[in-house]
């Protein structure tokens, strides 16, 4: 029954998100949507995906949307009339996709192509012999598809860097020459078309004085961080790995700065250290590949790292997971640090 009910609830949330006028409620419904999605991943036995979704979808992305909302406006002022061309295109796309499902294989069937094609049985059979990983997801992530993961990590780091560049270069008064050499001449006058200025949030996140929040946060953070580290290093034996643990670690710092304020959080993890950590993770990952090259193997061939090939794979994959964890955690903190620093009154 829940197999039917949870996806249905997802649809209700998905539609409600776009119908609600107040952006704050919209973001909250989206958070619930992500949480339900995490439950659905669990029901589909995708436990690694569930950990990531719970931390990213329900945690980081909600905070991120709220921070951005605080820097812009909280009401969707658009009129709620139905956009006919968009509706027609949507219905047409839905019709084409529905027609396509006629040819798609039945779900939950073990004999369909995605499950019987060469690679999946190969991964399941050789996971332990070749990599020493019991969690096949971790084996594929770091070993069989190690190049893929290396560049995924690079994409995450690049997103972090572009965020830093977009926001730090922009903290200038209008009219001043910014770093790209373009003068900000496009300072428009919203009042001329009847846009009311809205109250802006404080430029820098302030400390929360509520003693309950402070005590609970202080008590919880060590456990959250311990769990994050556990998830990173436990990836070979159970659900977990660099991406999942990295987001959990990132969340712990975000909670800390939400409650104790941005200034206090900077004392614990400075902006400069965090910037360095973003690239350190990718360096660790790429570095392990280069070490393998020097030891006479192929790029990212972990088995040459130590005399015992299987143990070498375990060590190599652990190193790679730690590298991924560092970058992902640092980028998640970057998303938060850089967006709360935006000066709303500029």
């Amino acid at each position: 029954m829940t197999d039917l009910a949870i996806p249905l609830f997802l649809v209700v949330c998905g539609i409600a998100v776009l119908l609600v006028k107040d952006l704050m409620s919209s973001i909250m419904i989206f958070s619930v949507y992500s949480l339900m999605m995490a439950i659905e991943w669990c029901r589909l036995n995708a436990v690694d995906v569930a950990i990531t979704e719970a931390a990213v979808g329900a945690g980081i992305s909600t905070v991120l949307f709220l921070v951005i909302l605080g820097r812009t406006k909280s009401v969707d002022e658009g009129k709620k009339h139905i956009n006919l061309p968009a509706l027609l295109i949507t219905v047409a796309v839905a019709a084409v996709l529905l027609y396509g499902t006629i040819d798609l294989p039945h779900l939950r069937d073990a004999s369909i192509a995605p499950n019987t094609h060469v690679v999946t049985p190969y991964y399941l059979e050789n996971s332990y012999e070749q990599t020493g990983q019991i969690n096949v997801v971790a084996a594929i992530l770091a070993y069989f598809r190690g190049f893929d993961t290396l560049f995924e990590t690079t994409v995450v780091a690049t997103a972090g860097f572009s965020l830093i560049m977009l926001l730090r270069a922009g903290n200038k008064k209008p009219g001043a020459l910014d770093k790209t050499g373009v003068t900000a001449i496009y300072k428009k006058t919203p009042a001329s078309i009847g846009v009311k200025p809205t109250a802006t949030f404080p430029a820098v996140l302030d400390q929360d004085k509520d003693i309950v929040k402070r005590t609970v946060t202080k008590f919880l953070i060590p456990f959250i961080q311990l769990f994050g580290l556990y998830v990173i290093v436990h990836g070979e034996l159970g659900p977990g790995g660099g991406f999942q643990g990295g987001v959990v670690l990132g969340v712990s710092i975000i909670i800390y700065s939400l409650v104790f304020g941005f200034e206090e959080a900077k004392q614990r993890l400075s902006v400069r250290t965090k910037d360095l950590l973003v690239s350190t993770g990718v360096l660790v990952y790429g570095g392990i590949g280069v070490i393998a090259l020097f030891l006479g193997g192929n790029y990212l061939q972990y088995s040459v790292l130590l005399p015992d090939p299987q143990f070498a794979s375990i060590v190599g994959i652990m190193g790679v997971e730690i590298g991924v964890g560092i970058t992902v955690a640092a980028v998640m903190i970057t998303l938060f640090y850089e967006t709360v620093r935006i000066d709303a009154n500029d």
Binding site: G14, F30, N45, L64, E77, L107, V137, A159
Partner: protein, 123 residues
Amino acid sequence: MIELLAKYNYWIVIILLTTGLYGVMARKNLIKKIIGLNVFQTAVLLFYVSMSKIEGGTAPILLNHGHGPQPVFDNPLPQVLMLTAIVVGISTTAVALTFVTRIYREYGTIEEDQILELNKQND
């Protein structure tokens, strides 16, 4: 029940996908557009992970270090791909939201039609 479930998740994916698509096209608010894009993204993730589920399968974690009889495992490959896609997705969403704040700083609004009107006035 099995008959119904055979294609059920496909329909859910299609509804979510088109909801997101309509949101991106029809909503004028930029933050709403990005939320629509996120709904679209999760629909794609759901499509892949639904494919990985096998009737009676368990999470792909080996028993007894891969020795001896093993239960039926769900397909781990789509799970790996979607796991990284979520983290990449939040990073790119953050970049998009940053663009929204830059737009707000320049125009003082995040409504698409108002921005277009301001552009027209400035020309």
